[in-house]
Amino acid sequence: MNEERIVEISHGAGGRKMDELISFISKIIDIKNNQEDIIGPEEMDDSSILPIDVEQREIVMTTDSHTVDPIFFRGGNIGSLAVAGTINDLVVMGSKPQYLTLGLIIEEGFKFNDLAEICKSIGEMIKNSEVRIVTGDTKVMPKGKISNLVINTAGVGKLIRKTPIRDSAAQKGDMIIITGSIGDHGASLISLREGLNFETKLASDLHSFWPSFKDIITDPKIRCMKDITRGGFASAANEIASKSKVCLKVNEDQIPIKPEVQAICDILGFEVLEISCEGKALMIVENGSELEIIKKLKKFDFCKDASIIGYVDQSPQAQVHIITDIGGTRQLMKPYGEPIPRVC
């Protein structure tokens, strides 16, 4: 067998070797497909030039850097993760995602084969999600200065509703919806990292919200929508509670959690509500609209566990309350950043 081709430091030096690397990447992703209206990707100019939105809608923009360990996991890899993450951030604001940037920082010694697989996933993901990569960048870092591969993606979307969906719009009486079981991504990754081999079927819930949520985000009855990622449900719920100055009251037994996800958290001593997702949204919807929205969500396979999990109350402001079947109500705090014991 031939010696495996790896990324060398010279691949980032700005010379012909770099051109080689870039064309390797863009070919696999198929970046140049369907780019006739845009100046940039084809020409590899310094910047791209994008057509201005003719409907005079607001532009929505976001950026996100991605690291993940391991970079290949059940249900995806760092490439699909980077693309879906940025798309989802645009979608939950109420916008149609259109353009992405792609910045790759690669560790010296990274295998071309692995890079190819990642780029393939990126290509599939942008195609399925109807977005285009309009500009990009690659850097190579010396071995050990970075772990494998870091991807930065920025995204531009077009608002497709009157007003954007904001974290601050929750009101008393609204209902709380979660679009599927939580913690799958984090638990799956942790089990891989830790060598927990008894839950081999559990995969990351990595999924792009577009175009599935096309007809959902235009519903004016949606007040808030948040992509649940780092910090898990706890972080997303607290963001909404504090920005909207309301209290989210959540019934513990209605939060969809897969038993294997709970088991992984038990065994490793993690709080499942703080575990990350990569294809789940937390929604606050106007009272009365929740059943309709759930019905729409459940049509998508990745939302089949969508549930109504609680309601919004006026006070105490900026708190998330978890109501348990026995044992009272506990306050769910924003995760501290590392697990802290509390049992004396």
């Binding site: 830790e194 060598g195 927990l196 081999n197 008894f198 088991a263 038990d266 065994i267 490793l268 001593g269 309350h321 026995i326 044992g327 009272g328 109500t329 506990r330 306050q331 705090m333 501290y336 697990p339 802290i340 014991p341 509390r342 049992v343 004396c344």
Partner: protein, 842 residues
């Protein structure tokens, strides 16, 4: 001529300042007051603690000319309201033919004004007050002012209406709720209008803190205000010679609160008629009663009906093993069922009437009540209503709070109806409003001394006093405690008032209760703190609350958990916080200043910031799963075996892997194969090490309630008679450490040699005690520290604590253990408050 006016009502009649000050030790258990009377102007004569006798500074008398007559104003502070203090003063004054008045002053105790008396008579009067004061009263400070302006003509001694004065640096302590006295028992048995009456009380006993909404302690400020006195009771109330004179809770069958009885029919409460005989028969037959009482509501049922006990355990405890307390008809039954010392019996029968944990004579009798334990929490009736439950049918009844787990105890009738519907068959409910919910206090007996586990009814709101803070004018402080067995404390002018036990503050409902207690205490004692303290643990709700208060302008401070324990011990013993002192602080977990899990720390008080220094600790145990490890200590056992390269299967073959791990074999297999990260999370906690050994020896599967593994380890060790002088200490980075590893490996060797588990358990506890003693003795001899404290939840353990005390005494050192403050987390808020005060010096 004016006959009843304040002594000084104009500028020129200001008193010539001659003050007498009486200081007392603030500790509770000693009923003999330790009193010093000094001239306040000689400020340096601040008393230290030690002498138990009244010392009059004779200089005073020499300077005064006894032949002159003066006007006097005497301000007495302490527990002097609601205990029959004013009528007592009136009777005493009458006896000595003194003229003047006595009145309650909101937060400044009792004021006595006496007209036209000589110095020497006043001294006798003061002396007699000290000697004869009412049973429930406690004098903490007396100030005397003398005036020689115009004399007044008084022809009697009056009890004047209370006035609300919240000025000055005074502090009024409210009496605690106490069990019925002997005289009231007699009335309950024989007095026509009080026969079988459920609310018999007098100035010497009965509810106080639980029924007071405001000070001064007058009927109008209690929940008895909604009951008008009948003519009989009114006559008692206004008769100075009656022991119910100004008894604010005075009432009888004709005019007082009443019990109503409800039966559950088709999941609804239906009011029915039952007499007490019928009730006690129903109890005997296994029915569950919920009963509203003093400060809370209890579930009451027969301990000998397994089905009933199991039903309550399932409903209220999620089937965990947490023991229930039992109420026994009288002390004779306690002696019948438990081993009790004379001190145990005294405490059980004291006005405080706490639950005392005693060794059961036949543990098998209580297998449903206190599973896997050899102890039993017992209590005697403290309200006359409770006496009615026993009748001829019952000698022992389970007596447990009616709250849903992690909810505060229900006290409003609506809550009681709602909360008890899914568990009780009958409801005994009354129409007296409970102002403050207060649990029953719990003490652990170590035979000749006691440790408070839960400080509540009978003990609160008794304050602690630290004179230095008063002198230095340390600001008002609110401290929020930890999170389990929580209390809060308010400090003002050297007075520390800890709240009642508030339970686990991990739920919103429990936390709301904490906030209510805070505002109630602040109102009651006129405290408006601007400083607030909490634990360092960043995820405690109390820490979060403190951070919110910071936004409101409070000055905040976080105090390390074990440092708080250390400082609480100084307050318990009225020690100077600048004197040489070190303590072992051992428990299950406290957030360390380095973010690690601490729990076996030898800490010295230091006179330089941060006013403490860690001198020794224990080796670190893997604690990667954090709280999950605490709940399932088998995880720590497995990791410890891995760490020490011990053959794992040998040990775990004898254990029920499916039970000791939440996820059974797959969890076991995973942890077995899991690698240690280079910087894995670890703990020094002795409580956790005890947990590990309880699993190793097969006493429990996991922790179904707080402290269970360690408690069962001790329960079994107590069955062994062996002793040991061995100790295991190591040194790492120049710090002495208790060596868990050596102890563990040695215990395993014993286990392989087929030594009896109970003997191994005893050996483990003995060598732990020896090792802690050795380290303390070694360090303290070097540092010339004489006082060595023991604090933290581990020291509820009788074997460890008793052994260390004996070791230290042999080494001529002075062991300091808790008396009136819980060694566990119930004492944290007091420690935080005094430490915060220390930070406010200068």
């Amino acid at each position: 001529m004016r006959t009843q006016s304040p002594i000084f009502n104009s500028e020129e009649s200001k008193p010539k300042s001659i003050f007498l000050r009486t200081f007392c030790n603030s500790t509770i258990a000693k009923f003999e007051s330790k009193i010093f009377i000094i001239l306040a102007t000689i400020d340096k004569h601040t008393p230290s603690i030690g002498t138990i006798s009244i010392i009059f500074y004779t200089i005073f008398n020499i300077q005064m000319e006894n032949s002159f007559l003066f006007n006097w104003q005497i301000n007495i502070q302490g527990i002097v309201q609601g205990v029959g203090f004013r009528p007592f003063i009136k009777r005493l004054a009458d006896e000595y033919d003194l003229k003047g008045l006595v009145k309650n002053l909101g937060n400044k105790g009792v004021l006595i004004e006496i007209y036209h008396q000589s110095e020497s008579n006043i001294n006798i009067f003061l002396n007699q007050i000290q000697k004869l004061k009412p049973k429930l009263s406690e004098i903490l400070e007396i100030q005397v002012a003398k005036f020689n302006h115009e004399l007044k003509n008084y022809n009697d001694f009056y009890i004047e209406k209370s006035s609300l004065s919240v000025n000055g640096n005074g502090f009024i302590a409210l009496p605690t709720d106490t069990g019925f006295c002997r005289e009231c028992l007699y009335d309950f048995l024989s007095q026509n209008n009080r026969k079988k009456y459920e609310f018999v009380s007098c100035t010497n006993c009965g509810p106080r803190y639980t029924i007071v909404s405001n000070l001064p302690y007058d009927r109008i400020n209690t929940s008895f205000n909604s009951f008008s006195l009948c003519s009989n009771c009114e006559a008692e109330y206004f008769n100075t010679m009656n022991r119910r004179f100004h008894s604010e809770a005075n009432s009888c069958i004709n005019c007082g609160p009443k019990y109503d009885i409800y039966k559950k029919v088709d999941n609804k409460w239906i009011e029915i008629d039952l007499d007490w005989e019928e009730i006690s028969s129903l109890l005997e037959s296994g029915k569950i009663f919920a009963m509203k009482g003093i400060g809370g509501t209890h579930l009451i049922f027969s301990p000998f009906n397994t089905k009933t006990v199991k039903k309550v355990r399932l409903n209220r405890r999620k089937s965990n093993n947490k023991p229930f307390a039992v109420m026994m008809k009288n002390i004779e039954y306690i002696k019948k069922y438990c081993f009790s010392s004379e001190i145990d019996e005294q405490i059980l029968q004291s006005p405080k009437r706490p639950i005392v944990i005693l060794e059961a004579k036949d543990a098998s009798l209580w297998a449903d009540i206190a599973p896997n334990l050899n102890t039993l929490g017992v209590i005697l009736p403290y309200s006359t209503a409770q006496l009615n439950l026993f009748g001829d049918k019952n000698d022992v009844l389970v007596f447990t709070s009616a709250n849903i787990p992690n909810f505060p105890m229900p006290i409003s009738n609506k809550e009681i109806f709602d909360y008890c519907l899914n568990i009780a068959d009958f409801l005994l409910i009354h129409n007296l409003n409970i102002i403050q919910r207060v649990d029953d206090s719990v003490l652990r007996s170590h035979d000749d001394y006691h440790l408070i586990i839960r400080r509540a009814r009978g003990y609160v709101p008794r304050p602690f006093y630290y004179n230095k803070f008063n002198k230095l004018g340390i600001a008002e402080i609110l401290s929020l405690g930890a999170e389990e067995n929580a209390t809060i404390t308010l400090h003002k002018n050297g007075w520390f008032t800890p709240s009642q036990h508030l339970g686990n503050i991990t739920t919103i409902e429990a936390f709301e209760n904490l906030k209510n207690v805070r505002s109630h205490l602040e109102k009651l004692f006129s405290i408006e703190p601007k400083y607030v303290t909490s634990d360092l643990n960043p995820i405690f709700l109390t820490t979060n609350y403190k951070n919110n208060l910071a936004l409101e302008g409070f000055e905040t401070l976080g105090v390390q958990h074990h440092v708080s324990h250390l400082y609480s011990l100084t307050l318990d013993h009225n020690m100077d916080i600048e004197e040489p002192f070190a303590a072992w602080v051992c428990d299950g977990f406290g957030y360390g200043v380095d973010g690690k899990a601490w729990g076996c720390e030898f800490i010295e008080m230091d006179n330089n910031k941060p006013y403490w220094r860690k001198l020794a600790t224990a080796v670190d145990l893997p604690y990667m799963g954090r709280d999950q490890d605490a709940k399932y200590p088998a995880r720590m056992l497995l990791n410890l075996c891995k760490l020490l390269d011990i053959e794992i299967d040998d040990i775990f073959n004898d254990l029920n892997i499916e039970k000791i791990f939440l996820h059974g074999k797959k969890e076991f297999d995973f942890i077995k194969g899991q690698k240690f990260y280079s910087n894995y999370y670890s703990t020094s906690a002795l409580g956790r090490f005890l947990d590990i050994n309880a699993i190793l020896l097969g006493y429990v599967d996991n922790r179904s309630y707080r402290g269970e593994p360690a408690i069962t380890l001790e329960a079994n060790a107590l069955k062994s008679k062996i002793g040991s002088d061995e100790f295991y200490i190591t040194s790492q980075n120049g710090m002495l450490k208790l060596d868990y590893f050596e102890i563990f490996e040695k215990a395993l060797t014993f286990s392989k040699e087929d030594k009896k588990p109970n003997n191994i358990a005893k050996w483990i506890l003995e060598v732990i005690a020896n090792s802690l003693s050795k380290i303390a003795i070694y360090i303290c001899e070097e540092k010339a520290i004489k006082k060595i404290g023991l604090t933290g939840g581990v020291f509820y353990n009788k074997i460890i604590t008793t052994k260390i005390i004996s070791n230290l005494k042999k080494a001529k050192l002075n062991p300091i253990i808790h008396k009136n403050i819980p060694p566990g987390d119930g004492g944290i808020s007091l420690g935080q408050a005094i430490y915060h005060g220390r930070m406010l010096y200068e």
